[in-house]
Symmetry: C2
Subunit: 331 residues, 2 copies
């Protein structure tokens, strides 16, 4: 059984899943050796995953059979489990919380080789819709304080290359979200405005780091981007909760994300990217002053060294140059 | 000219060095393609680096010639530069600081293929001594608020595989150090004790995560380790400033680090590791309640996905199991 542990000084949460060392070494070989065969996320292999929780399907097709466009299942090897008592215990100066949570996999498409950069916008819309539906369902469980959606795609990042996202419902609030909240609230206290709303205004005005703006969304390279092609996609109008996004917005967002991923594919032959959805915490931790957004990181094996240990980043590419590159390349 | 930029919400500092995209793509190819030939850090190639700032040499050998054991040079392609005016400017809601700082390279050994895990302890002592001497020298420059020492070693982490460390003197305090300081001060306010001193006491008592303890130092896997074999090496007696370490301590530390790296090599055939020295900020930011230590991360390509975006880590190996593995393997 996994557990959550909190670092006593930085207050950082870690899930310790407790796999044996040998399993890790095996996993290492698999990551190096390429794809698992046959792929359990491909159509026809529905029985190899736990039963589906949500799916977008052709009308009339039964659950856990072919005919789906997007399929959400519990992770077969979850970091956290839904069942059990939520216990918070101390061990001297340390804090532990039992590994309660949800860990779901969004299987994004039946097409094993698909990529967000070449996908139909309609398919991407289905994926974002699955995120929203799962977020709305999971928040009914009052133990959960936050939901994280994250995806990695590209060579050497995962044991399974079939496009998929992880969705985690947590009994804690991740450090980066907590930090952001603290920063946004401090700014709000001083200025009575949202720092991200101000950022959007300034970015649109200067136009130095804007990649693309639609009616409702903005894709831009942040002023202090940590990584060469780091990009944020954010709703122009203040909105704290991705769960409340409407259908027209979802469609527009899908188009913008699709365009961005298309640009990346034009710049790099085999792009490896990571994406995280940042949205307000839940329950009594809901904060209307939060501003949800998507952070995308394109992984280049350069100049990543001690950021993990210092929180001090070196970005070799200027954000303005990154925005120019991304803007000028056709999606 | 590079510059420092601060993210307005999380207050994170980023150095933007502003290389052209083409240079980055070239670098990418080099990282993939393996080592640069001939190696500019090897003996006989001293003229290919900027002139040395510090060296441990055979008596009588002239500077910038063969005969050195450890050699410190300014980085030929520095992230930051010593010369110039320290300017802090605003751009709307954003903060910029000119890219002033020192960026030095510690060439750790003349032996291109050397590894800390197989090196003579005496050589490692020389490297740690070089860190100390450079820290003591650089802090005379009153513009610098902190010094970071970091090293990456192993395949696919750097364009140059010859063992070397980076030493950065900064006009800002990195986020992780600032966070740690805040946590340590909060703890101190409540308990009038150092949280890391308490950690050391608890770790020695439980002995669950101790890898090795010497008279003055402790190597242990932290309770909330972020990575499978993450290890901290810390002085048992409270000390905030690595610059003030004495020679006997340096020697003992070198032996312990050497042992740890030897253990890693026994567990993994081609280990890739990163190391960061955490020491108190400088000048009026000096904080005696800080507790210096070394953080070491062994890089495994597993389960690293969204930590960068959430600050929420998943560690597949339990810290107790990691400590057991590392303790039982002979260095």
């Amino acid at each position: 059984m996994s557990e959550l542990r909190r670092e006593p000084v930085s207050q950082r949460w870690v899930v310790v899943t407790g796999q044996p060392w040998e399993t890790l070494l095996d996993l290492l070989k698999k990551v190096k050796g390429g794809d698992q065969e046959p792929c359990p996320f491909c159509p026809g292999h529905e029985a190899e995953t736990p039963p589906e929780i949500f799916a977008l399907r052709e009308p009339g097709t039964p659950a856990n059979r072919e005919g789906w466009m997007v399929r959400v299942v519990p992770n077969k090897f979850p970091f956290l489990r839904i069942e059990g008592e939520l216990e918070r215990t101390a061990e001297g100066i340390y804090d532990r919380v039992s590994g309660i949570g949800a860990h779901e996999i969004v299987i994004e498409t039946p097409a094993h080789e698909a990529d967000w950069g070449t996908m139909e916008t309609h398919q991407l819309e289905g994926i974002l819709q699955a995120y929203r539906e799962r977020i709305l369902d999971l928040r009914k469980d009052h133990r959960f304080r936050s939901i994280v959606v994250a995806r990695n795609h590209g060579p050497h990042l995962a044991t399974l290359t079939h496009p998929h996202s992880h969705l985690l419902a947590l009994t804690v609030i991740p450090k980066r979200i907590e930090e952001e909240l603290r920063g946004l609230l401090l700014y709000h206290d001083r200025k009575e405005r949202c720092a991200y709303c101000d950022t959007i205004r300034q970015e649109l005005e200067s136009n130095e780091r804007v990649i693309q703006a639609t009616q409702r969304f903005l894709a831009f390279v942040p002023f202090a981007a940590r990584y060469p092609l780091e990009t944020w996609i954010i709703p122009k109008a203040h909105a704290h909760d991705f769960g409340l996004i409407g259908d027209p917005d979802l469609k527009e967002l899908a188009g913008l994300v699709r365009d961005f991923m298309g640009r990346i594919r034009k710049l790099l032959p085999e792009p490896t990217s990571s994406l995280v959805l940042h949205t307000s915490p839940l329950q009594r931790y809901t904060e209307p002053r939060y501003h949800w957004h998507i952070e995308i990181r394109v992984r280049l094996p350069v100049a990543e060294g001690f950021e993990w240990g210092t929180g001090f980043f070196v970005n070799p590419l200027s954000p303005e140059e990154a925005a120019r590159l991304l803007k000028e390349v056709a999606p």
